[in-house]
């Protein structure tokens, strides 16, 4: 009995930490509608900042706390709201969540940059470290009591704030109906800013309290917070008292598990699978149950229009793209070193995983945070199934994982938006802890996935595997296009655009969702099944899935090209850090930085690039000219007239700078187009004729030179060839809107309307 009391006290002290974290999440969500995955990362940054002030610069604790919690944290929250989150109105949940992932990535990169690991640094001490009081026969540290106190204080203050102050009422009003609030004279932007400031303070408080228990370790500080999501969901993201109850439950379950897990009646394994991972999964299991206990999400009637838009891909473009991708890979792979070939292969693997999100997220609007989990299952299936990697084994692996995907979706199917995303995250964590972390699956740390065995074709070289990967991507990509153009594709789009309308017309939402999940899981499984190498469970960890989702959205999750772009960017980022050591730190924050700009271009980068090339559609003469030029450059290289580097740089220049400008130069009417043509020609000559191998001494500098050349000649030509500068005037229709149209939006509107100013 005494022991039970002891563990109860311990459990409640753990729960207090979760309570502080979860309340911050709830405040952000109730006031901005954004579920902030970067909440833990914010706390982590605050903890580092506090450490810097308190322990490295030796400021008194109250001063350091004040500066961190009441100056820097609110400032950070305000800046985040103003420059990142405000632009996200009208975007889908997917984009919103991805931006918080990007923010998360950005902050981790920044912390790594500012505070490189240093084992000998001054420890992060608890408040009044070493002081304890005896409660119920157990010594409880003052730090834990303070945590307790903070949890209660936060609860009271938040309650008062939300229900007793004007600002609090405004905050709740904004969430209920933003437009209505605005009509009544509310200022939603200012309210949101205030909410983000409060949320950042709460995150900072939690981070500092947690760091006392944890030391300054980026990972645990960021990840432990995920446990608190379960508490937030128990509170349904709105109820603070329920959230606190949830936090207490989590802490108690954890403590009781530890107390009882060694008792003789407690099973140590189930069907030979060790269950030591259960304890770490408790929050996830609670999260899953809490999600399922939620009432079915209501279908929202009314017009839901998202800013991100993707055109239906045509067969001709798709097939050309597929063939072009394979041909390019074959041509380029012959020139890469084996080492670079493997790095590029890595990019293709990520691209296939990103592709799995296109039908699910891009078309059907369902968010999954577990794409790599399915890839891991694919890898296990491929290596365990008989057949040593022949085509039948691959098909069997894909089918099995697709079925698993549908099975997972079944309980989660009642959910939508953020709840669905979290349930897939819970699934990913459970699989990681309970299936990947087992001898039966990953042996003592890794397994060999056999290389695909195709009769008469030798694939087992880096180049062979790269070409296979490009083929696999093209094949799967065409499959995705086929889905999009089919009946099922139209159902998927309907599911995203208006579930209510689709259901009204008799469409089975459940069946459509299941199909989307199964297709997605099947595609992702290919990335694992085709690994053709040794793989370890860490590669398929839940946390690894986040950047894939982020980069897929950055590339443009609505299109196959976007998936390719995102995957290669993810793979290429590590290449960048290798070849340009000086850019290492920039590379750390690059994906995050790109991601936070999603608010401006929610359709993704590939869509933007695609727009540049779209002018060439049906211009067969110009297309032939472009292809011929690329071929000629390749011939120059094959004949050893120019070096590989000149080929690489000249080729990229031709594709990215010359081709998109062709239409403007040919169709233009002003004389300036001749000037533009001449300017561009100089660029071609420059890129091809410089002796890159000797004139520039490192790969990194060559890449930088490439970017500069493209920017200078490509963008310069564009400006020269432009007919006349466009003028954007506020349209009379836009009077009363709080924000002016951006250039992109005006461009888009003009194009849609067929108006050229």
């Amino acid at each position: 009995m005494q022991e039970l009391l002891t563990f109860t006290i311990i459990g409640l002290s753990t729960g207090a930490i979760y309570a502080v974290v979860a309340s911050g999440l709830v405040v952000t969500y109730t006031t901005s509608g954004i579920f902030n995955l970067a909440h833990g990362a914010t706390g982590m940054l605050a903890a580092f900042t506090y450490w810097q002030l308190r322990f490295d610069w030796d400021l008194p604790a109250p001063v350091a706390l004040f500066v961190t919690l009441f100056i820097l944290c609110p400032l950070f929250g305000i800046l985040t709201e103003r420059f990142v989150m405000r632009g996200l109105q009208g975007t889908s949940e997917v984009v919103k969540l991805s931006v918080t992932v990007a923010l998360f990535a950005f902050m981790i990169g920044a912390a790594n940059w500012i505070w490189p690991s240093d084992s000998g640094r001054q420890a992060f001490l608890k408040f009044f470290e070493g002081n304890t009081v005896s409660i119920g026969g157990i010594n409880v540290s003052w730090h834990k009591l303070i945590t307790f106190g903070c949890a209660i204080l936060v609860a009271i203050v938040l309650r008062l704030l939300l229900f007793r102050t004007r600002m609090g009422v405004a905050m709740r009003a904004v969430v209920d109906d933003r437009a209505l609030t605005e009509l009544n004279g509310g200022r939603p932007d200012r309210v949101a800013m205030f909410a983000w400031a409060i949320s950042a303070m709460l995150a900072g408080l939690a981070g500092i309290l947690l760091a006392g228990e944890q030391q300054l370790n980026i990972e645990p500080l960021v990840l432990l917070v995920i446990n608190a999501y379960a508490a937030a969901i128990i509170g349904r993201l709105t109820s603070l008292p329920m959230t606190f109850a949830g936090a207490a439950v989590l802490g108690l379950l954890d403590a009781y598990y530890l107390q009882f897990s060694d008792d003789s009646w407690f099973p140590q394994s189930i069907m030979g699978f060790g269950i030591s991972g259960i304890r770490a999964s408790i929050p996830t299991i609670v999260l899953f149950i809490a999600l399922l206990a939620r009432p079915q999400s209501r279908l929202r009637a009314g017009v839901v229009r998202f800013r991100e838009q993707n055109k239906v891909p045509t067969w001709s473009t798709s097939i050309m793209g597929a063939v072009g991708l394979i041909a390019t890979t074959v041509a380029i792979s012959g020139m890469l070193t084996r080492s670079n070939t493997l790095l590029l292969l890595n990019g293709f693997t990520f691209a296939i995983v990103a592709l799995s999100l296109v039908p699910l997220t891009g078309y059907a609007g369902q968010m999954s945070l577990a794409p790599l989990t399915f890839a891991g299952l694919g890898a296990i299936a491929m290596s365990k199934l008989p057949g040593d990697g022949n085509l039948l084994t691959l098909i069997a692996a894909v089918v099995i994982v697709a079925l698993v995907g549908a099975l997972v979706a079944l309980p989660a199917i009642r959910l939508s938006g953020i709840y669905l995303a979290l349930s897939t995250a819970a699934f990913a964590v459970l699989v990681t802890k309970l299936i990947f972390n087992q001898k039966q699956t990953f042996m003592s740390g890794n397994i060999s996935v056999p290389v695909l065995d195709i009769p008469f074709i030798e694939i087992n070289t880096p180049r062979g595997r790269l070409i296979l990967a490009s083929f696999a991507f093209s094949f799967l990509g065409l499959g995705v296009v086929a889905v999009r153009r089919s009946r099922l594709g139209r159902r998927l789009i309907a599911l995203k655009d208006s579930p209510a309308a689709a259901a009204t017309l008799g469409m089975s939402l459940t069946r459509t969702k299941l199909a989307a999940f199964a297709i997605s899981a099947g595609i992702a499984s290919c990335a694992g099944a085709l690994a053709g190498d040794k793989v370890s469970p860490q590669q398929y960890d839940f946390t690894q899935s986040l950047p894939v989702v982020l980069l897929a959205v950055v590339g443009g999750v609505g299109s196959v090209g976007g998936a390719l772009f995102g995957g290669l960017l993810l793979g290429g980022n590590s290449v960048l850090a290798t070849v340009v050591p000086t850019l290492k730190n920039v590379a750390k924050i690059l994906p995050g930085t790109i991601g936070v700009t999603l608010g401006r271009n929610p359709s993704g980068a590939a869509a933007q690039i695609g727009d540049a090339f779209r002018t060439l559609l049906n211009r067969w003469g110009l297309l032939a000219f472009s292809a011929g030029g690329a071929f000629l450059i390749w011939v120059l290289d094959a004949q050893y007239i120019i070096s590989h580097w000149a080929f690489f740089i000249g080729g990229i220049f031709w594709i990215l700078a010359v081709t998109p400008n062709l239409v403007a130069i040919v169709d233009g009417t002003s004389r300036r187009r001749y000037l533009a043509g001449a300017f561009l020609s100089i660029g071609v000559v420059v890129s091809l004729s410089i002796d890159w191998d000797n004139a520039v001494d490192s790969t990194g500098k060559r890449l930088i030179a490439l970017i500069l050349i493209i920017a200078f000649f490509g963008v310069g030509t564009q400006r020269l060839a432009e007919e006349s500068p466009r003028l954007h005037r506020a349209s009379p229709d836009a009077v009363g809107l709080t924000a002016d149209f951006t250039d992109e939006e005006l461009d888009h509107a003009e194009r849609e309307l067929g108006v050229v100013l």
Partner: protein, 486 residues
């Protein structure tokens, strides 16, 4: 988060893996390097058996207790490198590491730092008979070992002084391109049992050092009856915990250990673990994981007011973290084994002094730590074997010849950097030192210098200082190419 978000990683946990298998203490103690370390040229130091003594000038520059293997060209002229082995005007040595892994930035970079310093130190004396060394960074970034292995195949003469956490992923490519490795450390069973390589401090998969457990058994015969092993719940760390339990079993006298897994990504509250041990009456504890987590557990033990009678960990906990400001006090009484010369005793160990001095002179920004010391030992061994090879091979440097000469080394201390090992026989070291935290500082606990237990040079060695353990700890044949001579 870049690419893989690395975050996560979970990863931090992975660093544990690296650490769990080898010693890895981390100390940038510039002060000791400058105030305590004698110059590397120390002609008074006795020369112990450090493999074939190939240098003909015993009074020349020294590294610790061994004559420097580096120097200018001999009368035979500057050596050449065999065709097809990435030769040229320099000997290109690839140092494997995982520092580019973003989940744990700088992971094992101390090995690369040591290699760079070693190249500077060696080249200042003329290189290997006039051929300078050039270090190539083989960054496996944890998950990108195959590309790094390809880079090694296309760029370097030999791999030296490094290691990857997922080192079994280098096979079979390693053998296909005829590479040789003087490994700083090996993690997986496949790599530790592989051929084509030699390790200055071997760690065979089925034989483990036991001198430290013998000491615990003799010193605390009662406390070792109630054992707990806390470990990070990862396949790889779990395997290390299993190996520790098997070693205890082989040594005998230890009670059946209670396994307590913790979440390697971190725990929000360590108190329940302490309470669990307390209620089970644990008197002897070992922790498998990272020192960062361990420090927090120790603080929780202090709060509860319960610390097992003996807390003794493997060599990867002999680190600065345990004694960092704010930690040293609560770590009081904690014990760790080491097979390195203690960093605190550079005045007694010329090898340690030379290492610290080499780092201070040639790579002052570099990280000083246990793995760096293992890397230095591996590079010294490469340089020694390269000299022997040139003697017998017409002044031509050739991979199998260099490895073959190294395989003749049956006694090695890296100039006094670590306890004596037998790299040729690939057996686990039988000597060690027990260090403990006293007054916030690492202090020698056993053996007392000059006492009967000091078997020479401050080390205690047991005849049964290494034991064979039973169990399946990974694929021991995956790294073996039976067609290779060594």
């Amino acid at each position: 988060m870049s690419r893989s978000l690395k975050f996560g990683r979970t990863l931090a946990a992975l660093s544990l893996v690296a650490l769990a298998t080898v010693g890895c203490s981390n100390r940038n103690d510039g002060e000791s390097a400058t105030t305590q370390a004698p110059a590397p040229v120390d002609t008074d130091a006795p020369v112990t058996s450090d493999g074939p003594d190939t240098t003909d000038a015993p009074t020349g520059p020294m590294f610790g207790t061994m004559a420097s293997p580096c120097g200018p060209a001999t009368d035979a002229g500057v050596p050449t490198i065999a065709d097809g082995q990435n030769g040229g005007d320099t000997i290109k040595l690839g140092t494997a590491n995982d520092h580019g892994y973003e989940g744990s930035p700088g992971l094992t970079i101390e090995m690369l730092d040591a290699a760079k310093a070693f190249a500077g130190w060696c080249n200042a004396q003329g290189g290997i008979r006039g051929l300078p060394l050039e270090v190539v960074d083989l960054d496996g970034k944890l998950f990108a070992v195959p590309p790094a292995m390809e880079q090694a195949c296309s760029e370097v003469f030999a791999m030296a002084g490094g290691g990857w956490v997922f080192d079994d992923q280098m096979y079979p490519r390693f053998h296909e391109c005829g590479m040789i490795s003087f490994s700083g450390y090996a993690v997986t069973a496949a790599a530790s049992m592989a051929n084509g390589k030699i390790q200055p401090i071997p760690n065979p998969a089925n034989e483990k050092p036991s001198q430290w457990l013998n000491w615990a058994k003799a010193t605390y015969p009662d406390a070792i009856k109630n054992v707990a092993i806390l470990y990070g719940d990862f396949l790889t760390t779990k395997s290390v915990a299993d190996q520790l339990a098997a070693t205890m079993k082989a040594v005998g006298g230890f009670g059946e250990p209670v396994y307590i897994p913790y979440n390697p990504a971190g725990e929000a509250n360590w108190t329940p673990f302490v309470q669990q041990m307390k209620s089970k009456g644990i008197t002897y504890m070992s922790f498998v994981g990272s020192d960062g987590n361990f420090v927090q557990l120790y603080k929780a033990m202090r709060e509860v007011g319960y610390v097992p009678e003996v807390v003794l960990n493997d060599a990867n906990f002999y680190t600065e973290v345990m004694t960092a400001p704010g930690n040293g006090e609560s770590s009081e009484g904690f014990l760790a084994r080491t097979m390195y010369a203690p960093f605190e005793e550079a005045d007694l160990f010329p090898g340690m002094a030379s290492y610290l001095d080499m780092m201070a002179t040639y790579n002052p920004e570099g990280r000083v730590a246990g793995l760096g010391l293992q890397a230095t030992s591996a590079l010294l061994m490469f340089a020694t074997a390269a000299n022997s090879c040139l003697d017998v091979n017409n002044n031509i440097l050739e991979r199998e010849c260099v490895l073959g000469e190294a395989m003749k080394i049956s006694s090695w201390t890296g100039g006094g950097l670590h306890s004596e090992t037998n790299p040729a026989a690939k057996t686990a070291p039988k000597c060690g030192i027990i260090m403990g935290v006293k007054g916030g500082q690492w202090t020698r606990i056993y053996p007392e210098i000059g006492s009967a237990d000091d078997n020479g040079g401050g080390w205690h060695c047991d005849d049964n200082g290494a034991v064979t353990i039973e169990g399946d700890f990974g694929d021991v044949t995956a790294g073996v190419d039976p067609t290779r001579p060594n």
